[in-house]
Amino acid sequence: MNENLGSPVAAPYTTTSNNPGRIMATVMVALAPSTLYGFWLYGWPSIYLWLITIASAMLGEAFFLRAMDRQASKALTDGSAILTGWLLAVSLPPWAPWWIGAFGGLFGIVLGKHVFGGLGQNLFNPAMVARVALLISFPVQMTSWVGAAPLFAEGSPGPLDGLVILFKGIPAAFDAMTSATTLGFSKTEMSRGVDLLQSAAHAPALSMIGERAGSMGETAAWLIIAGGLMLIIKRVISWHIPVAMLVGVALPAAALNAYDPAHFLDAQTHLMSGGVMLGAFFIATDYVTSPNSPVGRLVFGFGCGLLTYVIRTWAGYPEGVAFAVMLMNALTPIIDSHFRPRIYGRNRKGLPLQVAD
């Protein structure tokens, strides 16, 4: 008989056909529509930037795996480096210079992931580590937004202009395209003493469709929601974090807006602005850096939302998703140890149930 029959493999002898590569691929499929929309909206420079960011993330991964003597090709195909690069790319200003993407990809993989010991070991979301590092190091480039310049539309940069923008910066011809985000605009106006009721008239319009200034892949709320719902239905993520995070933003926003509309933006603006949607469905839900019990996920998601709101409203930065997610990442181990699922036959404290007479 076959000599391998006795190989000491323990049960079960059958297993799911699922694997990390497939999970990452599903996430990418869910992410694709909003990204493609971003390409259309912001044109060639954004496409180049996306490519550069992902390439640099993969390069960083390959380098580290080679250095640590693990098979580079196998780990690269699990897609986690691509996904990190992708998530970072879509959160960048679409016309940022090439080195923002290149640095960012490396930052994310090196500081965000391999410093902690590689896949599954990192405390913080690698894409957000990179975003925050870039924001602190290069505040100007990281907050230079452009308005929509749909591909092939008149006046939008062609493939060559795109390269120029990427490598030389935004030329004078396209200067008119720079724009502010709603959050950034209101913050600046408020700091000048113009309250929201007055500034609202000139504020850049928000739209569900996503035709607004913002990061490459964060503007099309409805496409992000569609992708997120697909992930929930396919059971790649659970609903807890996204719902809790959106509630965490909307609740305080609605309350304070009702209390003083002149100084606090309304809930809808908060939900539709910046990285909230992308953060709720694609960033905060990162497996490695979020809690693993349902209650823990609710707490974590709500914390992400609430902190986002707090940072946006009272801190120096107009946008707070990246900071909020990283702060909650740091709390994840504590949340995990506090909100464990109840064990069969034990109470919430982990003590055996009493036998009722």
Partner: protein, 506 residues
Amino acid sequence: MGFLDRFFKEPSWGVHPDDHKRPAADAPLRILPTPERVYMPLSQHVGGAARPIVVVGQKVLKGQLLADAQGNISAPIHAPVSGTVFSIGEVTAPHASGLPFRAITIESDGQDRWIDTELVADPFALAPEDIARKAAAAGVVGLGGATFPSAVKFALGKRLKVETLIVNGGECEPYLSSDDRIMRDFADQVVDGVRLVMHAIGAKEALVGIEDNKPEAIAAMRKAAASFSEVKICPVPTRYPMGSDKQLIQTLTGKEVPSNARAAEVGVLVHNVSTCAAVHKAVRLGQPLVERIVTLNGGAIATPGNIYAPLGTLVTDLLAFVGLKGEPARLILGGPMMGTPLAHDRIPLVKGASGILAFNAAEAATPEAGPCIRCGTCADACPMGLLPMEMAAHIRVEDFEGAEGYALGDCISCGCCAYVCPSHIPLVQYFSYAKGELMAAERVKLRTDATKRLAEARSARIEREKQEKAEAAARRKAEKDAAAAAKAAAAKAPAKDSGQAQGETV
């Protein structure tokens, strides 16, 4: 299955593997021709091995006692065929990795002659203890795989006044269909056995849980139980591990067994459908447990299905009977989720063997394990509500106490976590290893504690003796001093303490 069902109807725990039960489950039951030789292991149950009472060369009839139960928890072994006792003792398997086992080998005379059996017309007139006694004498053990002597469980149920008997017809393991087959073909025997077990433990009702992927079995059992209102047939959702005692109890009664208690303490007792059929045969027909239905399934088998075979039949003979399509890449005793790998096929069929699986290369392929991506899928699937990835993380760095802090001891080794893990981490292997290490540590601790207690007792004794001696010495000295003083007083001369040192240091 409707989309909403996925969210609302099914339990939140467990997994839903491809069941691979059909066509094997639908193939009619086949009877194995009596093999030339059978090997009855002396230990096919939880508890003490049986003690042989026959001698080599002795002629035995089918059903004759070969080895008697030994100790409080044990079960006897009977002859599965009529013939001659060929050998008693170690059977060395002809394979390097095969462990030897103690067995009684019988050469069949091909006639299959039974011993005289005692028919009982009205077993319900018997005392409950008599039912337990008959089941014990017939060597009935849990046939779902646990192989715990049934009579011991009856006694426990009776003592704790169990009200509800749960009958396990879940058979949630993929590939297996022996319980399905027994319910379809012998529903009357099963129901009669259920009622006998109820009588033995004094239960008022019996809930028969059958997964809803076995509609034929449900129909057959409903028909058989139609005139007995105390026996309720309850279809349960198809979900692995529904056939695990704790999960079935929860699904059928809503009760949870406390983690440090036995099911009987919450008023329920679980017996498998095949066990109930064996009780029926033991009590009503006086037939000991010498045969069983076993599923032969897997991609390497030519005609998969259920076989009625004498215990002690070699797996080789069973495989030859159903035919092989090619060399099996893996042999498993039991189901693919919790079964045991077989190192070779010269292993006899035992009481707890509900299936023998022969996997082809595609089925046996195990993907390479990757790093944990902390996706939490394992925790969502765990029917016990444990956190497999946390336990594994502690075990990986040999921190077994840390894993115990996550209630590793409550793990039922069902394999759901390892089944769903996208990184294919052999979690159950981790857990078995850690449980073994913890058990070993516990044993060492008990031993060192005992040694320590002995040592402490010894030093306490030495201390006490020393003290006693010192006290005695002091007493003697005082007496002597007093005597000397008296003498001195009497002699009016200074006394000399010269003799004092003597006899006081030992």
